[in-house]
């Protein structure tokens, strides 16, 4: 958690213009629903190898921003680059193909599937996902499937939930579901993983477990962008932290700087303090 951040802690960086190697770059994103402006000229970047936090009071537009980045919403204006490729307006599965995988705020359960099956949806470009290949190259399908099964088993073990493999995916607790989601996302081998409130509704023990897993995966090279309301969780995990308020980026910096910033306090307390 004592990650070395470049330069002086409190300085703001203009989105995208900073030097470095951004996995994700967002510039001037704008989205309005009727008269309500949900995202207003939001710009920031996520550097490779970081765990970047995204916080903001309720209604600040965090989830909208996630949806804009991952392709679920089309922005009215602005651009999104993933790994140097412009993915503005692309369909979610195209964005995913560029290495950006997201999870959802409310856990999505796969009815009628075991955890093992649910895990196997994660890997990208499986040979057996082509209808024709099932008939023309069954051996390639079998090889791919065998490799993915092994990978799923290994990752479940790494997450210490190997014993859940045979369980129906709908029978898990909230925390276990989040772990499975994270494990499945890892099977997609993402460059950047967007986590939408990974510990909402998760008991503290599992939350610590999730934090440890996220750190482990980050050490292994995955970049994270995390929305979270649990400040204790996020501040100990993320660096830098981006603060969103009323649809635009209020500030960005290491957690200590964010915590002590007056504008952030104002934003959370509605400007009264």
């Amino acid at each position: 958690m004592t990650r070395v951040s470049d330069g002086d802690g409190g300085t703001e960086r203009a989105g995208g213009s900073a030097a470095g190697d951004p996995v994700l770059r967002v510039e001037g994103l704008h989205k309005a629903f009727g008269g309500l402006v949900a995202t207003d000229d939001a710009s920031f970047a996520v550097e490779r190898g970081t765990i970047t936090g995204l916080i903001g009071p309720n209604g600040a537009g965090k989830s909208t921003l996630f949806n804009l980045i991952s392709g679920f919403y089309d922005p009215d204006d602005g651009r999104v680059w993933v790994d140097g490729t412009d993915v503005t307006g692309a369909a979610p599965h195209d964005v995913a193909a560029h290495g950006l995988i997201r999870t959802f705020q409310t856990p999505r359960k796969l009815e009628g599937m075991t955890v093992r099956e649910a895990m196997l949806v994660g890997p990208q470009d499986q040979p057996g996902e082509s209808f024709l290949s099932l008939f023309t190259s069954p051996t390639a399908v079998a090889d791919g499937e065998r490799a993915n099964l092994a990978a799923a088993e290994r990752i479940l073990e790494e997450f210490e939930i190997g014993h859940l493999a045979d369980q129906p995916a709908t029978d898990l607790s909230g925390g276990q579901t989040k772990l499975v989601e994270l494990a499945r996302a890892m099977l997609a081998e993402p460059e950047l993983l967007l986590l939408d409130e990974p510990v909402a509704g998760v008991n503290p023990t599992l939350a610590n477990e999730l934090a440890a897993q996220i750190r482990r995966l980050n050490d292994a090279g995955t970049t994270f962008l995390v929305i979270e309301h649990d400040m204790g969780f996020l501040m100990s995990l993320a660096d830098p932290v981006v603060v969103l308020d009323q649809g635009s980026v209020l500030m960005e910096g290491p957690p200590e700087a964010v915590r002590s910033d007056e504008r952030v306090v104002d934003a959370y307390l509605g400007g009264g303090a």
């Binding site: 979610p92 959802f104 599937m113 099956e117 996902e129 065998r146 045979d166």
Partner: protein, 388 residues
Amino acid sequence: MDLDPRAAWAGLTRAERGVVGFVAALAALLVFGLLTGGLAPTYFLYLLGLVGMYVLLSFGLNAQWGYTGLINFSVAAFFGLGAYGTALLTADSSPIAGGFNPLVGLVVGLALAAVVAVVIGVPTLRLRADYLAIASLGLAEVVRLIVLNQREWTNGSAGLRGLPGFFEGWPVLATFPEAMPGLRIAVPFGATILLETPFWQALLNVGLVGVFVGASYLLLGRVHRSPWGRVLRTIRADEDLAEALGKDTYAFKMQSFVLGSVIMALAGVFYAHLNLFVSPGDFEPINTFYVWIAVILGGSGSNRGAMFGGFVVIAIREGTRFLNGAGFVPLDVAPLRLLVIGLLIVAVMRFRPQGVLPPQRELIWPGALGDADDAGTPRSAERGDPRE
């Protein structure tokens, strides 16, 4: 699987035992009917053909609704497209191009259904599931009205007659019914059973539908227990999640929709060459709902379930005719069959919402589980009696 009947029985879930018992009882009843002369063998085979046809329709809908969650209310339309597709090419009275070999009719019937499925899928499959449901409801009527009113193409309400049997022009099978000798079987207690040309003709038809059902079953089983089938199941459960995991859901939904529609059209092709006559009446929307009931009753997502469901729907639809003849029932029973089916569906929803034979196996390519020889069997027991 297992040759030891007792072990095989022990390996079944309760529902499976119930189904086996039910089918055995019904089979016994039918044999009794056949032996006493209450049920003519030729009619019995005709019923079997109808069962096969409904099983095909249920397979088709299962590939759409059971696999992917696509709500298609135009089962009858795709069935009718298959029937008219082949009829227009093979019938003597076809205003377009009669006289082709039924195999050409088969290909054209299936292709027609595939094209219409794509046309209806392009605008609706990008949207939420409800829109396909609405569009397909309309499609069924549109297709029916076109067939009814475009007389210069379809003969309108007069329908198309003079269709050849499916095997017309084939080496041996074309003349098989005539070539077979008439058989006379004397049953000790009941009537004498005559097996003549119509019987052999019907037997041939049952063989044909058996091949169609068998081929569809193998094909569907193969594609369903695969990464492809897994993506469909994911879309059914949560389409956004499938997108977020990099699956092009539109393409998958389209494939599933076309596949199902083509199998429905296959049922139509069979029907046209069974009945040798097609008319706009074959587009009756009630058939769509019979098929829906078959799939829901059997267990959405399960081919065995679809098979069982198709069987039960025909048993009720045709069985009620016999009750009518039986003197001990004081009412006219046949009109009650819709009520019976309605009660059945309420009972299933109330007591077994997942259907009688829900899917049991994990959707994992069997070839990848090689070492555990018949994969899935140890797990199927766990899944057999799910969360009750």
